[in-house]
Symmetry: C2
Subunit: 336 residues, 2 copies
């Protein structure tokens, strides 16, 4: 009998659910607006409804489990903790909404509907890493790092074929490695975190820095800072704008420096880059590769592959979430 | 039948061999001068002789395997690679010594004598980490980091109960994380490595920096720089010397900053500090702890234990080497 995993990607805007087989082929996919269901219980009901709809499309298949990728989720507790971009409420007995839920018991809630299935959750960057390992470019690798470049910088670290989850389920926060202590203010409350330099938002800050230092004209000076995004900087750089090019140069240098330190930690076979910023292609890749090599110890030089993710950008999230199920069957999450 | 592991610590000066049971009790111990045997084959013969002597002291015990801790060793190849402090030669047919051996096949050589026993090797910092896990303060822990503060800074990282060895057996080189890129020259050829600041030699360099900045008198100004060691700085600090105190303060701050980044990587349950510099006690501990907490993300604060190693300093090396045997029985080193 064919086995399928349910992958759920919970984002601030959309919730996407997919049924995926062991090779990464998507048998079916559904989605709805997360914010249409501000009451958590109603959200969960809609979620279960979609899972059942998908399941009815593949009546002959066996469902191996449910995997969830969500920001701020904890694989050990099964909770989404204090999410920043998602707000759910409890409903009072009289039907009115109560205070926002800070700890969202998503796994235990789904377990009520599916008591015999493995239900697992992890943050989106860890899910992406497991997706890379099961369906993507990291198949057969025991040691690699997946870096996701979005609004922030996320990471999933795999060692000895297993995800590094840490003592409390919060390992791999490489966006919050202090690259320049005392440097740029970060959303986490500290200064100098890697993601304040290297991310879709970090690169815009770097452009502002370059524009402040340099007097040369650039069309980017005519756009308000809060309208500039990494794609516009990439376009300007491709059109020959030296300031935009310098911005990518600095971003790549800093990421390469950080990656060199990551290599000293786990000596991965490969580092995969994933996410919107990687669309800049050579503009980003060239300085990252050069900087990583020049910052590494001699023993590591020329030995760590820097690769684009092998997952399709648009479906990576549900693929990653579903991959958590196959990983769980091999290496059950310890009860801590 | 009692089971014992043979632990061998190969250092530039001494080679120490011990027979150790599963609780860390040393049943017997021998040593000789490494440099008395510049021809590798003769060194190996003496080593085997000592192993046999020890074995004859415990005729009723079963030997579970041989574990070796040695600098620059590779667990996957079984070689000691380009050692800096040890020089062995091959002998020509006419008895004259040939060029120094760059790749020393220590494991395969011992395997000729002990074909049925597991023979495993790893660098001394990894061996210390495994020793901590099997006999010391990390018993029962799945995720921790062992930092050894000697001439340099070594580290062993344990994740999911297994040593992080990396794709090529060279993971955990945390002494060569770039803490201050462009900073102090390191023996590895780069600038700004953690161990140029935090180690027995790094702290002396920091003292020189403090003496350069500060005009106040200190008895340490009357000692030539190449005679100053970390113990003298600790003594001066305890006697109230503000420059020596400032030196420990800076050293601890930098180590704490580095540890905070390590926590973002693997979120260990504990970080163990081991080695000569830890004898400074509170002088080092207080600033490390303070700096680590203040540099960590809020989610990690107050959750990572900073602990002294639970291994006795003088026997840690053979304990760690022997522990590699017990670890190997649980998690065999993959053939890569």
């Amino acid at each position: 009998m064919k086995r399928l995993a349910t992958g759920i990607d919970i984002g601030g805007t959309n919730t996407v659910i997919g049924l995926i087989d062991e090779t990464g082929t998507i048998a079916g996919q559904r989605s709805f607006k997360t914010r249409d269901y501000p009451v958590f219980e109603e959200y969960a009901q809609r979620l279960v409804g979609e899972i059942e709809t998908l399941r009815s499309l593949a009546p002959d298949a066996e469902i191996a489990g449910i995997g969830i990728g969500a920001p701020n989720s904890n694989p050990f507790t099964g909770f989404i903790e204090d999410p920043v971009n998602i707000r759910w409420y409890e409903r009072n007995a009289d039907g009115s909404q109560r205070a926002p839920l800070r700890h969202i018991p998503i796994v235990s809630h789904l377990k009520q509907y599916y008591p015999t299935l493995p239900v697992v959750i992890d943050n989106d960057a860890n899910a992406a890493a497991v997706g890379e390992m099961i369906y993507g470019g990291a198949r057969g690798m025991q040691d690699f790092i997946e870096i996701t470049l979005g609004t922030g910088l996320g990471a999933g670290v795999v060692v000895n074929g297993q995800l590094v989850r840490g003592h409390g389920g919060m390992a791999g926060e490489l966006g919050h490695v202090l690259l320049r202590p005392g440097g740029r203010v970060c959303g986490c409350g500290r200064r100098g975190c890697l993601e304040t330099y290297v991310s879709a938002t970090g690169i815009v800050r770097t452009l502002l820095e370059v524009m402040a230092e340099d007097l040369r004209p650039t069309p980017l000076r005519s756009t308000p800072a809060d309208r500039i995004d990494s794609r516009m900087i990439a376009e300007a750089a491709r059109a020959g704008d030296p300031l935009a090019q310098e911005t990518f140069e600095r971003t790549g240098n800093l990421l390469g420096e950080a990656l060199a330190n990551f290599v000293a930690f786990t000596q991965p076979e490969a580092i995969f880059l994933f996410g919107g910023l990687t669309a800049a292609g050579h503009l980003l890749w060239a300085p990252v590769q050069r900087s990583m090599e020049s910052h590494m110890m001699r023993n590591y030089q020329g030995q760590v592959k820097l690769l684009p993710s092998g997952l399709p950008q648009s479906e990576a999230a549900i693929l990653g979430a579903s991959a958590l199920v196959w990983q769980e069957l091999h290496h059950p999450t310890p009860q801590r």
